[in-house]
Symmetry: C2
Subunit: 246 residues, 2 copies
């Protein structure tokens, strides 16, 4: 990127931190390794580049956030597969992943009825503390965790839900076919976030790794909230795509 005709008065005094040079050298090593190949251990890289191990770790940390590397405690650090790109649309998780050649699956980590907290009760337009069905699932692609999805539904609005829902199956299909609920629209919000230690554990990742936090409220044709969802996706493994019309 040379280029300059207009320039704001930005100094840009070539100072780059040392870990940035290390990052460039590791990036060059990655280019010569195939996907899944192990990177040399951090201690070796530190010795080879004659820097401290924590300097190597900072470089590796950034490459991990960028989705180029993937570290596993006790095993090593490996060249990562390219990021998955998921379309933003009403209920697309399994089809979208299958289209990209991944095998999608889900693991249920919670399925119960709990009192609604403030945010959930506001989103679902029910009283605070009213009972809500809570379904939490880990979303996987080829067995690797990509996201953690927590869905909340008003229990009194769907009194038979706990009986008819198979928590491992499709929530949408069950709601539509068993309960006749029609999805009309959703408001979805995306931002960066960090995982809690529990969430990081479920996602088999590290709490320092940035996540994409998606919060969604879905409504039926009358505008009544059907569900609110809090989903945390691994920022190093997935991105989202949407099509906008004028």
């Amino acid at each position: 990127m040379p280029s300059a005709a207009f320039r704001s008065g930005v100094p840009d005094h070539g100072r780059v931190p040392k870990y940035y040079a290390v990052k460039a050298r590791i990036l060059a090593e990655i280019a010569e390794l195939g996907v899944g190949a192990p990177l040399p251990p951090e201690r070796d890289l530190a010795a080879r580049y004659t820097v401290a191990r924590s300097t190597v770790r900072q470089a590796i940390s950034e490459l991990t956030i960028e989705g180029r590397l993937s570290a596993r405690q006790g095993r090593g650090t490996f060249v990562a597969k390219p990021k998955v790109i998921q379309p933003l649309s009403l209920h697309s998780y399994t089809e979208a992943l299958r289209d990209m050649g991944y095998e999608p699956s889900r693991t249920v980590t919670a399925f119960d009825v709990v009192p609604a907290g403030d945010e959930v009760s506001a989103a679902l337009a029910i009283g605070p503390g009213a009972p809500v069905v809570h379904l939490e699932r880990v979303l996987l692609a080829d067995g690797e965790p990509l996201g953690l999805e927590s869905t909340y539904l008003a229990a009194e609005r769907y009194p038979t839900l706990m009986d008819v829902l198979d928590p491992a199956g499709s929530l949408y299909r069950c709601m539509q076919e068993e309960l006749g609920v029609v999805w009309a629209e959703a408001t979805e919000r995306i931002e960066t976030a960090l995982a809690s230690p529990r969430e990081a554990l479920l996602l088999q990742t590290n709490p320092a790794l940035p996540m994409l936090l998606m919060q969604r409220v879905s409504r039926d044709p009358a505008g009544v909230p059907i569900e609110c969802v809090r989903a945390l996706y691994r920022g190093d493994r997935i991105g989202f795509e949407t099509r906008l019309r004028a």
Copy 2:
């Protein structure tokens, strides 16, 4: 979050790193301080909690990524303003920010004609190396940088663009009113990313802070690409919202 009926075989053995406890204590301090108030210096916090300074730094780093704190070298660390939420729609930056009570502005950091790189030429459906107009601007809210937007347009498709465009004004209005270009649809992709040192400098932030990278290709009614945009937004300061219809 107690709750458990279904449980995957996740250990969840209460181990939390020490920096996580420090983070909770700093969060409690933040709650008692107002927006814009200074946090005690890192060295003081380390002494008060009897931990190493780098442990405090890791906690502060996560709170910064989460948008709760904002550090400025040489000055201190401050309680941050809440995140801005920007609607995902075709051309909304100024109106959306004004609706939220912010004063939007832009700074031009580059405006020139350059040969298209591989990605840009593919996105614009032109030959590699063909000339493209490149407009790079910093987007600000109340004088604070929120994003860095790089727009590329095929120079041969809009031969008078460099003459009629005021780089500080609205690109959309100029294209529509001066050149009669009609926006029909756009494909937008969002993922996490890191800034380069130059980008971090322009955004007055730190290269380790996760960003939201948005890449957009806009098309006219005939499907011809009008522009491709690479925009980097500060993950600690902005999120995006979209409305989906069935």
